[in-house]
Amino acid sequence: MDQNDRKIINPYGDDKDFSACGLFAAMNIAGERFSSKDVVHAMANMHDRGNGLGGGFAVYGIYPQFKDYYAFHVMYLGKDAKEKTDRILASKFDIVYDEEMQTNQKADVRDPPTVWRYFVAPKKHRPIYQTEEDYVIDAVMRVNTETGKAFVFSSGKDMGCFKGVGFPEDVAEFFCLEDYQGYLWTCHSRFPTNTPGWWGGAHPFNILDWTVIHNGELSSYGINRRYLEMHGYKCTLVTDTEVLAYAVDLLMRRQRLPVELVAKVFASPLWNEIDNMEPKMAELLRSLRQTYGSLLMNGPFGIVIAHHGEMIGLGDRIKLRPMVAGSKGDMTYISSEESAMRLVSPQLDKFWAPRGGEPVVCRLKNFKTGEEQ
């Protein structure tokens, strides 16, 4: 670690680094869009939870003029990566529009890569055995694994992920987030523990319109990753949280499990608790653990999962990471700290501290779950 790194991570020369990750999410359930102002303010208030090695935002409802197209955000960390990526994208999609993303080079972020945005539609002639979504995921995996230095960090419709190495407020400045509006924002401040602080490793992690932000550490990463690889997901971002994004896509989109059950897969009740439940519930939870044992998320975590119309907060079953929630009118918030929430909404109608393993689910008023669709 060079001197500059040290100065960013530990400006006061403390003996110990007191950081953790910080999460904040805000959603308007009437679908009204709002700017980045409040969420960036809340993240800046939790500045000390991160250490400047990762910050990021996911915003839903930001590209209404292109809402029928997949919006790809791609970071290029090498010179020839763009040429290779363009070739892959052109072979699989009709590229409706592409541009270098608007960035503020004065922002205090480290070694920013070139970031590009594409609006694309899948080619009409595609294999019949693949759904459109699987076709898109396949393309994302190809870019991430075959180009060497290009990574698709956002691939959903009418939503976007923005992330990089810096404090969240600086990453927001870099991506000029003040120019965007969305009805759902999830935000992350990173304090990397076991894996490198690099642009692709910042949160949120995204596939299609699914995003995950995560505070904690998945000690089950190895087994989760092997299981997901069997389902075609390739982990390239060298960070544990990546498996969560793919696991959510697999369970919620492809297998259409309701969120309540997904919560029980990730944060299953302990065996001795299951033994004490009424027989039907015990059988359900036992079969979930048996079927999805490899997707049990072990270790401490607090996460916020989002996709269009819905955000879900979930903590590990023994609550080793903080999470509180609150609501005011049509707004619902999930945060690592109560103060950040009170900063943007001092008079909450409702405040609660969700229990470990119990999901906080917040949906648009007109949201239809997988089954209803």
Partner: protein
């Protein structure tokens, strides 16, 4: 208690002078947008001024460690939501929070008092070794984790409502008094794993609403216990209102560890 003299006397940064006003014995601080390090530095500087008996801090929002390193019995009123590790290593001040507290309040505190007029987050009273914490409503997970006591140092937490899982985890000493005032008659607190690894100290509960783990035992309270409980409940009511007699007019139980070394045989076979 004497304020220890410092090798480097602390001075208040000029840019914060407008945020600080003094009226006789009371100092008022507007903490909006003051970084936690600077706020704590201001507190250290303010207590050096003679005659200050009370500090009021307004617009607090997430500043950490407020009240640490002061070593005097000054009274500090906090308006807003203080950040994590409120009064960490507290060694004297009485800190009154007119609102809610976050995680880790009273972490390793040694003396003094924290009074929270709302709820408190997880790990409240973490490794406490002295002093008292009063919480009007509920506390989060792991309140009183690893509290300890030695001779006259008996840390105490009084909780008005209920607690989250792992209350008194690895508790080695001290007193937790939990009143369950928000529960209906006969209702249980849904906290799991209460008293896991507990090997010292005592939990007093008003009724029998906790479900402690194996390794603990529930017993009737005796006269000496009631004398302690009565004092704590009276003090609770003096902070938050309410009628101590009405609260005390209910059978209390105590939860004790079965063994002082619950894990002695963990690795022996």
């Amino acid at each position: 208690m004497q304020v220890p003299s410092r090798i480097n006397p602390v001075e208040i940064d000029e840019k914060y002078e407008a945020c600080i006003t003094r009226e006789d014995k009371v100092v008022k601080i507007d903490a909006a947008d003051i970084y936690y390090r600077d706020l704590n530095a201001i507190l250290r500087a303010v207590i050096q001024n003679s005659g200050v008996e009370k500090i009021e801090i307004y617009n607090v929002c997430g500043q950490r460690y407020i009240g640490t390193d002061l070593h005097t019995n000054i009274q500090i009123h906090i308006y807003g939501t203080p950040g994590n590790d409120l009064a960490v290593f507290n060694n004297g001040p009485q800190i009154i929070v007119h609102g809610n507290a976050q995680d880790g309040s009273g972490n390793t505190m040694n003396e003094g008092q924290i009074v929270i007029e709302g709820h408190a987050g997880d790990v409240t009273g973490h490794s406490m070794r002295g002093g008292k914490i009063f919480v009007k409503d509920n506390v989060g997970y792991r309140a009183g984790i690893h509290m300890k006591q030695y001779e006259k140092k008996v840390p105490t937490i009084v909780i008005g409502d209920v607690a989250g899982d792992f209350l008194a985890e690895y508790m080695a000493g001290g007193i937790i008094c939990i009143l369950g005032l928000g529960l209906k008659e006969g209702e249980k607190c849904d906290a799991r794993f209460v008293g896991t690894g507990m090997h010292g100290g005592v939990i007093y509960e008003r009724g029998e609403f906790l479900c402690p783990v194996a390794g603990t035992k529930v017993e009737e309270v005796d006269k000496r216990d009631m004398a302690v409980i009565t004092k704590l409940v009276e003090e609770y009511c003096s902070h938050f209102g309410g009628n101590p007699q009405a609260i005390l007019n209910h059978p209390f139980k105590k939860i004790l560890p079965v063994s002082t070394r619950p894990y002695a045989n963990l690795f022996s076979h």
